[in-house]
Amino acid sequence: MLEAISAREIAVSGLKAQRTRMNLIANNIANAMTPTTAKGGAFRRQLAILSGESVQSGIAPEKLGVKVERVMSDPSPLRQVYEPGNPYANADGYVEYPNVDMAVEMADLVSAQRAYEANIAVLVSGRRMTAKALEIIQV
């Protein structure tokens, strides 16, 4: 049986996950032109892998909501830009730039913000429902 508290905890897990996504997006944008990192090589776009389970009868409440399973680097190819004069250029005169596409990052940001607000709506509606339940014991 799903208790009243579950919806709030589920929404909070959603807020945390979307917040993580937004942080990664912000970092991707900030490093969109970073050709070198401490680990060597250009900065790679990072994304969060989310996991969560559908509600089933008898499911344990802890399994509900969403988790950031891990953060991974996008393995798609880096951008090769021909800049022979650049100190970071390789033997063929190409500089490797991050595989960060601004349009994609902005679309992801919008999606994360929308989802974040939707989770807020769950919290707000939960509060309204609790307020109504309190009326039952009022004079």
Binding site: M1, V55, V66, A118, S125
Partner: protein, 130 residues
């Protein structure tokens, strides 16, 4: 005739409890709006209500039709993640879930008001007899 043999207070209480469970189901769908391969679920309100009124704790659900996804891949294809504003890789319709959330909260407050009224009538009667 709906709910024979059950008084309206029990019916309203059962309906409110079912709304609380529905709230959790919708919350889970919204929290997983961007989870790859996630299938949203929908609470069968009348079925769950009947289970509640008959004293059983089970929740009855309806799974939405799973779209054919390439679920052999552990990691979703990156083009899908890149186009995440279209949300191709899971079936959560955020607008629908928001609508369901709004309807569910509305129903809860309606049943709550009716329940408050039931108790108020009894209290008024007691006050009138004093």
């Amino acid at each position: 005739m709906a709910f024979p043999g059950v008084n309206s207070v029990s019916v309203l209480q059962g309906a409110m409890r079912t709304c609380v469970q529905n709230h959790a189901v919708i919350a889970n769908n919204i929290a997983n709006a961007d989870t790859p391969n996630f299938t949203p679920t929908k609470l069968d309100f009348q079925g769950t209500l009947r289970e509640t009124l008959e004293g059983r704790g089970r929740v009855t659900l309806r799974k939405t039709q799973a779209r054919h996804l390439d679920i052999t891949r552990e990691i979703p294809r990156f083009e899908h993640i890149a186009l995440s504003s279209k949300n191709d890789y899971n079936k959560v319709d955020l607008e629908q879930e928001m609508a369901n959330l709004s309807e569910n909260t509305g129903n809860y407050t309606i049943y709550g008001s009716l329940l408050v009224k039931q108790f108020k009538q009894v209290k008024d009667m007691l006050a009138g007899l004093r």
